[in-house]
């Protein structure tokens, strides 16, 4: 019944529709990312009712993941990382004059993937949540470390830089008065810093300003025009590719549910799966195989539903966008975690209902308005980027109606820009900021339970199968990103 709340109010329906439409354009325009849009938007929805804010943000997330495929197909420029694999076969199809068919097929398969992801979320989340009630404080600490390590290892080329970024996020998150003892941490005597640095400012700086500054490097990339027609796919085609779409969706939802992964890795794995199971494709993979397009698009949209599972049940964001979502929920007084489904079932089912609604709008907007879309995405970056700067500034200012938030945003934007230049990933920073409170609180609870005895802490950790599993995953992820792992693998394969 709670799920229906998302469908009966005209406000919610309109906001979800608006969000999905905006998301498709945001996701499609290279240089604009879903994370950037959601980060900037959060600051404007502070005073809103939480359900209204969620409708808009979920719509943007859902639409944005799909929207990236449009430019990947039409221009060979993936609008979002999750659409990189889409371009492999989508663009060759467009070059053959089949852009309309490719967009139509990718829309239908994205919607199927979306539905599979949401269904798994609805079924699995309550079970995961019940299981999470067994977690001890040390398990939450380990989960936080695991999330940051995974994101650090997967989002950049260097594990060291990823870990640095995650630790920096935790450090930023500790600025302000300690919530337990009210001792000042890194405030340097400034009363303004007592309440800490707003995560929203960090998000706008890192994902709004930094992204836009990076885009200034590629101002002169020319846009290519494509012929777009016959968008609605044939029923026979849908039936033919449905089994592959469902298989890819399940890959997407499982990968999406792992902290630190997301649509990008999900689509890569699903593409690899499609290559292995498709014995005789009509066209080779990489030259316009519809199977490749279907696998990529089904899996990256299914990953959205998957990403909500750890976020809503454990309070651990799966990726940068869900980290921003957690920030938004905190601001609105909702604490995602194992108790969410028990204490706020309305909230959980409202999110599921909104995701479903956004998926329906995805189908509608995905198959219509393509011609207008083709014109809008040709808007020059030289005009688009100054608008992003303006929105970032207004977003930062509106948090506390204070210019100092613009300076913080500027500082984080510049820092993020130089970190990106030198190969430091930014997603672990925001994950660290969001998780620092959880890690701080649970570390202190865990060590107080053991009466400040580190030996007892480790002894209990090793005697608990759950804690040991989490520790094993952390060590495995960390080791598998080091050169030692490659050497070990080479030695094993030689034997």
């Amino acid at each position: 019944m709670y799920m229906l709340n998302a469908w009966v109010s005209l406000d919610y329906v309109l906001l979800t529709a608006l969000g999905t439409l905006l998301g498709i354009y945001v996701g499609a325009i290279p240089g604009l990312s879903v994370t950037m849009a959601v980060s900037i938007l959060i600051s404007f929805t502070f005073s809103w009712d939480i359900n209204n804010a969620l409708c808009l943000m979920i719509g943007i997330y859902m639409g944005g993941v799909y929207g990236g495929s449009r430019t990947a197909i039409l221009l060979n420029i993936p609008g979002a990382p999750a659409a990189i694999v889409t371009a492999l076969d989508g663009y060759p199809l467009a070059k053959k004059g089949l852009a309309g068919q490719a967009i139509g097929l990718s829309t239908i398969m994205s919607v199927i993937g979306g539905f599979v992801g949401i269904a798994v979320l609805a079924v699995a989340a309550p079970a995961v949540s019940d299981f999470a009630l067994l977690f001890q404080p040390r398990d939450y600490l380990l989960l936080g470390i695991m999330g940051i390590t995974l994101v650090g290892a997967l989002s950049g080329r260097s594990l060291i830089k990823g870990i640095f970024a995650g630790a920096l996020g935790i450090g930023i998150g500790t600025v302000g008065l300690d919530p337990l003892t009210a001792e000042e941490r890194f405030t340097f005597g400034y009363v303004e810093l007592w309440s800490g640095i707003s995560p929203v400012v960090v998000m706008i700086g890192l994902f709004g300003l930094t992204e836009a500054l990076v885009q200034l490097h590629n101002l002169d990339k020319a846009m290519i025009k494509q012929k777009v027609d016959k968008i609605v796919p044939k029923l026979g085609d849908i039936k033919k590719y449905l089994p592959l779409s469902i298989q890819s969706s399940f890959i997407g939802v499982v990968i999406g549910a792992l902290p630190g992964t997301g649509g990008e890795i999900a689509s890569l794995m699903a593409y690899d799966h499609a290559r292995r199971v498709t014995k005789k494709p009509e066209v080779p993979f990489g030259e316009g195989a519809k199977e490749g397009l279907i696998a990529a698009e089904s899996s990256n949209n299914a990953a959205v539903g998957g990403a909500f599972i750890p976020m809503l049940t454990l309070g651990i964001p799966g990726d940068a966008v869900t980290a921003v979502f957690i920030g938004a929920l905190f601001i609105h007084g909702v604490n995602p975690g194992p108790l969410l489904i028990e204490t706020r079932p309305d909230m959980f089912w409202f999110i599921v209902g909104t995701l479903l609604l956004a998926n329906v709008f995805l189908l509608i907007f995905g198959l219509t308005g393509i011609k207008v879309f083709s014109k809008i995405i040709q808007c020059p970056k030289g005009i688009l980027i100054p608008i992003i700067f303006l929105l970032s500034i207004v977003g930062a200012y509106s948090i506390h109606n204070s210019v100092s938030d613009i300076w913080w945003m500027l500082a984080f934007g510049v820092m993020g820009y130089f970190m990106r230049r030198h190969g430091y990933p930014l997603s672990p920073i925001i994950l660290g900021v969001i998780l620092s409170h959880l890690m701080d609180e649970n570390w202190r609870r865990a060590i107080l339970v053991e009466r400040n005895d580190l030996g007892a802490f480790w002894a209990n950790l090793f005697s608990s199968p759950l804690s040991l599993t989490l520790l094993f995953i952390i060590v495995f992820v960390a080791l598998s990103s080091t050169p030692f792992w490659r050497i070990l693998k080479q030695k094993i394969s030689r034997k």
Binding site: G171, R185, I393, S398, L410
Partner: protein, 160 residues
């Protein structure tokens, strides 16, 4: 050219090391309590990890082969300067005028449009932004020199 690239990466990693060490030093002075569950424990752990990681990154940048780093476009410096100026004058001048100048100058400089076109476009962008955020979303934006409330009140009366 290559020498510059090496210096840039090494310098950045060195700056991160100094930054991390500075905050690690301050983390040790957060509290008198030396217990493992004190308010300083997580900050000490986080900044210790940062010191170690930045040290390793610095070492790697010294001993490994050079990674080419793109030259920073002049537009980046212009944008940063414009944001700084914008934040300094926003409350004095107000959202409408400062945003008009901000967007106009940036579109002129980055997109290479004619001055009149740039400012016409900027006017359109600022008006749409104002309409969406100030009127629809009720976001407070600094008024500055333009008596916005009086103008809005006057416009409201015109239609009543």
């Amino acid at each position: 050219m290559n020498r510059m690239c090496i210096t840039s990466e090494q310098l950045f990693n060195l700056l991160l090391l100094v930054f991390s060490s500075f905050f690690l030093y301050h983390a040790f002075h957060i509290t008198e309590d030396s217990g493992l569950g004190s308010s300083a424990s997580i900050p000490i752990m986080a900044f210790s990890v940062m010191v170690m990681a930045s040290l390793m990154a610095l070492g790697k940048s010294i001993f490994s082969s050079v990674r080419p780093v793109e030259k920073i476009p002049r537009a980046v410096f212009l944008v940063l300067l414009m944001i700084l100026l914008y934040s300094l004058f926003l409350e004095e001048i107000g959202f409408l005028i400062s945003s008009l100048v901000f967007i106009g100058v940036l579109v002129f400089a980055i997109n290479g449009s004619r001055l009149v076109t740039s400012f016409a476009l900027a006017l359109l962008v600022v008006l749409v932004t104002y309409l969406v955020f100030r009127i629809v979303f009720k976001v407070m934006l600094p008024e500055g020199m333009i008596p916005e409330r009086e103008i809005l009140f006057y416009l409201k009366n015109l239609f009543n």
